[in-house]
């Protein structure tokens, strides 16, 4: 079984209130030297079989259609196989 991981982040020009809140907590907890925090979303999508080129293309389309809103967000996608996970 293969896993496709989609990471979604707000575009740099869009204000991220949640990231700002986390950044504020860093300071209060004494974790200094942090210039900025941006919060995103990670989706782990497990496929029934192998991550063929067609399947990955389909997941990319799903990411573009549903998981990310291209008006305010960018996404990256990569494939993790069971072998890779075991090896790490």
């Amino acid at each position: 079984m293969a896993r496709v991981v989609v990471d979604v982040m707000l575009k740099p020009e869009i204000l991220d209130p949640q990231g700002k809140a986390v950044h504020g907590a860093f300071g209060r907890l004494g974790f200094d030297g942090v210039a900025d925090v941006r919060q995103g979303k990670r989706f782990e999508i497990t496929l029934d079989g192998e991550a063929t080129e067609e399947r990955v293309a389909e997941i990319r389309k799903a990411a573009d259609t549903l998981l990310a809103n291209s008006v305010i967000e960018d996404f990256t996608l990569h494939v993790e196989t069971a072998d890779v996970e075991a090896g790490q």
Binding site: L10, E13, I14, L15, P17, Q18, K20, A21, L66, L67, N69, V71, I72
Partner: protein, 222 residues
């Protein structure tokens, strides 16, 4: 004259929206998210609330509901559609309107009476207001901050498509934008709630009624 109001799982203000349509003199029709049939309505309201729990992003999952497929198609043919609060978020996610709504910049839920200036009174939903008419209606939201890239904001302003602007920015919305319309003026998205300001017993004013009386005239005229 029938105004349909869609109920999604998690809609909160569908009953108030139906009531506002009735107060304005329309027959209010309940529409269901899972039913693609609009039952012959002349206009549609997408109400406020937390449809599908706001999971993923506000409005992101609702936009794929069966009823939305029909609404997106009919909106392209001129059907008047008003999205209030969560409905505005659904319209942006559907790409019927540009931009997006993100979390309020101060991260708190807002519930207050809010002043607005109606800047475009040529839409199907605002013709009963004077240009630059100032109104006070209810604002209540978590994800109410309107954002878009600079080019989109310039285009919206250049084409007179900013329908309403906040008098005092309550949530970080770019350029104080509270509501916008599409090029044709039949689709309007508005973050504050006109349906909560149609009767003095329960609202701060009756300033919201104009949205519902406007669409009655727009339908009769077409």
């Amino acid at each position: 004259m029938k105004v349909g109001v869609v109920t999604f799982p998690g809609s909160l203000d569908d009953v108030d929206a139906r009531r506002a349509a009735a107060v304005a003199g329309a027959e209010a029709v309940a529409l269901w998210h899972g039913d693609a049939d609009l039952h012959g309505v002349d206009a549609v309201v997408l109400p406020g609330g937390f449809s599908y729990g706001d999971y993923l992003r506000a409005g992101a999952i609702s936009r794929f509901a069966p009823v939305m497929e029909t609404i997106i198609k009919k909106a392209g043919e001129g059907l008047p559609v008003l999205g209030i609060c969560n409905g505005f978020q659904v319209l942006c996610e559907s790409h019927l309107l540009p931009g997006a709504l993100i979390k309020n910049h101060h991260r708190k839920f807002i519930c207050k009476d809010q002043g607005l200036r109606i800047e475009n009174n040529r839409t199907a939903w605002t013709s009963d207001y004077d240009a630059n008419h100032e109104i006070t209606i209810v604002l209540k939201n978590q994800d109410g901050s309107f954002v878009a890239d600079e080019a989109t904001l310039d285009r919206l302003e250049g084409e007179g498509r900013v329908v309403a602007r906040y008098l005092g920015n309550p949530n970080g919305s770019y350029r104080d934008i509270a509501g916008i319309t599409n090029e044709r003026g039949n689709v309007v998205g508005l973050m504050p709630h006109p349906e909560h300001a149609v009767e003095t017993l329960t609202g701060p004013t009756t300033d919201g009624l104009g949205f519902f009386t406007s669409v009655l005239k727009a339908v009769v005229a077409s």
